[in-house]
């Protein structure tokens, strides 16, 4: 059996709304320890790695590992109907091969969606040696990305011992966001080697939607390496990780 109850709908709503921008369908693995999901977007530019342990739930009942193939667009539509403070229960209806979502607030509402066949191919673990890492308040990054979006399609991340810069440049103009060491929004900074790397803004903005403005994002970088963005889920019990391949000079 698969049944999981959370005190509110907010966590699940936010996570799914960030996932749906990158992938259409996903194989969620429910095990007695918790839920995991890992998938790449169709162009293989971005990877999504989601983990939510049993301890993040009020009640969590999974007696044997079960993989549920879910159409994210459909689930996102259903979750949009939930109020953030509604209690949420996810349940597998084995007989009908459906996932049922129950919102309990002023009333009890129940919606379900059919499960789909999704390939369960195991994705290999990425081999990455990041040289710089920083913890930043999400709202600041979201602002920097919105600034950069006015200017162009790409944004440059620079991380050094002095701080963090997010900038864009095109025929349309320039944008720059700077956080210096000691600034309030820059919480932790560790740089073995300064990193300079460029990314597509569209992907990053979609990813950044996984955070509320005051949440903390952990960013790992290396020159011409993918960026790794970690968002805390359910007060840090779980995490949503994004990897995005950079734009690099053609070889």
């Amino acid at each position: 059996m698969v049944s999981a109850r959370m005190a509110d709908s907010k966590t699940w709503k936010t996570c799914v709304s960030a996932m749906v921008n990158l992938i259409d369908e996903a194989a969620f693995k429910f095990t007695p320890e918790g839920i995991k999901m890992k998938a790449m977007d169709p162009s293989h530019v971005a990877l999504l790695d989601f983990e939510l342990p049993a301890s993040a739930f009020e009640e969590y009942k999974v007696n044997q590992p079960t993989t549920l193939g879910i159409g994210l667009t459909e689930m996102n539509k259903i979750l949009a109907r939930a109020k953030a403070e509604d209690e949420l229960t996810l349940e597998l209806d084995e007989e009908k091969n459906r996932l049922t979502l129950t919102f309990r607030g002023v009333s009890t509402r129940r919606l379900s969606l059919p499960l789909i066949d999704v390939s369960e191919a195991e994705l290999p673990e990425p081999k990455l040696q990041f040289t710089a890492t920083v913890d930043v308040v999400a709202g600041v990054i979201q602002d920097g990305l919105k600034d950069a979006e006015i200017v162009g399609d790409n944004v440059k991340f620079e991380l050094s011992e002095d701080g963090f810069t997010l900038s864009a440049e095109s025929d349309k103009g320039t944008s720059e966001l700077k956080l210096r060491k000691g600034d309030q929004a820059l919480l932790k900074l560790s740089v073995k080697q300064p990193a300079r790397v460029m990314f597509n803004i569209k992907y990053l903005s979609d990813m950044a939607k996984a955070a509320g403005p005051s949440d903390i994002i952990t960013i790992n970088l290396g020159t011409d390496l993918p960026i790794q963005l970690d968002f805390q889920v359910a007060e840090g019990k779980g995490r949503l990780r994004f990897l995005l391949a950079p734009r690099i000079e053609a070889e």
Binding site: L47, P126, K127, L128, S170, M198, P246, I248, E249, A250
Partner: protein
């Protein structure tokens, strides 16, 4: 010049955009020569700075290379070193042609025959040591690598391609194929509208690509046999046999197997130079493994100082060229994550 394979080579037209992201080893001497002969004033006179120094080669190198970079191509210019001894005769002949053309040009100009003057002027073009040094200085300012060949530039360019350090060799000559470059791109530096020499007719020139393996397969011959065909027709190192063109040469090589066998027939007497010696130049070329291909950032100030201050180029036009170099720098390529997934 080079070997005149023209007729039997299957060419494939390509757009510059299809070459995006590729490293191309360009025959520098061949390009500079092209620039000197194409880029002229109306009366056929070279472009010159206020001190009367020729700048046609610099203009060509800067603007045409900027075009390539804007198209996302990564050019590496390969410069000639010492020519093989056998080439001396060809070099002498070319010198004679140019000398004669220079005299005719002067005469035509004097007599006011502008059209003819231009024709002779184009033949009189000559790349000298100073031009080569200037070209290398300019490439340095543009942040582009260049390679000094110990021998023939085309042999070294072909070596870069065989080593997979470059994707293709670029030259107007077919010699790169004889040197074993898997891919040859022609018309790379002269793409666009081009006036036919001696006529008031313009044609649209676009790059063409020749794949060595496909070419050999189509003809049903080996790399060595291709070299043999070249020797029969004539190369920069031997005169070839009178009356033998590409088609006849192909027939002969297929019939006899190799130049060694052909040399044993009555045709053998017609070689002025030992064909096996010419063969060696192509099959065991004088090349070096010592080269480094590094792309740096263009230096706009250095470019302006060199072209505008020193050689009186128009500042606004040069700036447009610089913008093109920098634009490509911003346009980076989205890669996939696969590279990092074990």
């Amino acid at each position: 010049m080079g070997v005149q394979l023209g007729d039997i080579v299957p060419k494939q037209k390509v757009g510059l955009e299809q070459l995006r992201g590729q490293i191309i080893a360009i025959d520098a001497m061949n390009s500079l020569y092209q620039f000197l002969s194409i880029i002229r004033q109306r009366d056929g006179e070279f472009l010159k700075d206020s001190k009367g120094r020729i700048t046609s080669h610099l203009s060509g190198l800067f603007y045409r290379t900027a075009n390539l970079i804007e198209a996302g191509i990564k050019p590496v210019y390969v410069f000639d070193g010492e020519p093989p001894k056998l080439k001396l005769r060809t070099v002498e002949q070319r010198r004679a042609v140019r000398k004669e053309a220079a005299e005719e040009w002067a005469a035509a100009l004097k007599e006011g025959r502008v059209k003819e003057a231009k024709k002779f002027a184009q033949r009189a073009g000559r790349v000298n040591e100073r031009m080569i040094n200037q070209a290398q200085t300019l490439l340095g300012h543009m942040g582009l690598p260049w390679v000094q060949a110990p021998g023939e530039g085309e042999a070294q360019a072909a070596h870069l391609v065989r080593q997979r350090d470059a994707w293709a060799a670029a030259s107007q000559d077919f010699d790169s194929l004889l040197f074993g470059a898997q891919i040859l791109v022609r018309n790379l530096a002269i793409t666009g509208r081009r006036k036919l020499p001696g006529k008031d007719v313009y044609i649209e020139v676009s790059p063409e690509m020749i794949e060595l393996q496909a070419f050999l397969r189509e003809l049903g011959i080996t790399q060595e046999q291709l070299v043999d065909i070249g020797i029969l027709i004539g190369t920069d190192y031997n005169a070839g046999i009178k009356g033998i063109g590409p088609k006849k040469a192909l027939e002969l090589v297929k019939e006899h197997g190799s130049i060694k066998q052909i040399a044993k027939t009555e045709l053998g007497e017609k070689f002025e130079i030992d064909p096996l010696e010419v063969r060696e130049i192509f099959l065991k070329p004088n090349i070096t493994g010592k080269y480094k291909l590094e792309w740096g950032d263009p230096d706009p100030e250095g470019i302006k100082e060199f072209l505008c201050t020193e050689h009186d180029f128009s500042e606004s036009r040069v700036q447009t060229g610089i913008d093109r170099l920098l634009k490509e720098q911003r346009e980076r390529e989205q890669v996939s994550l696969e590279k990092w997934l074990g």
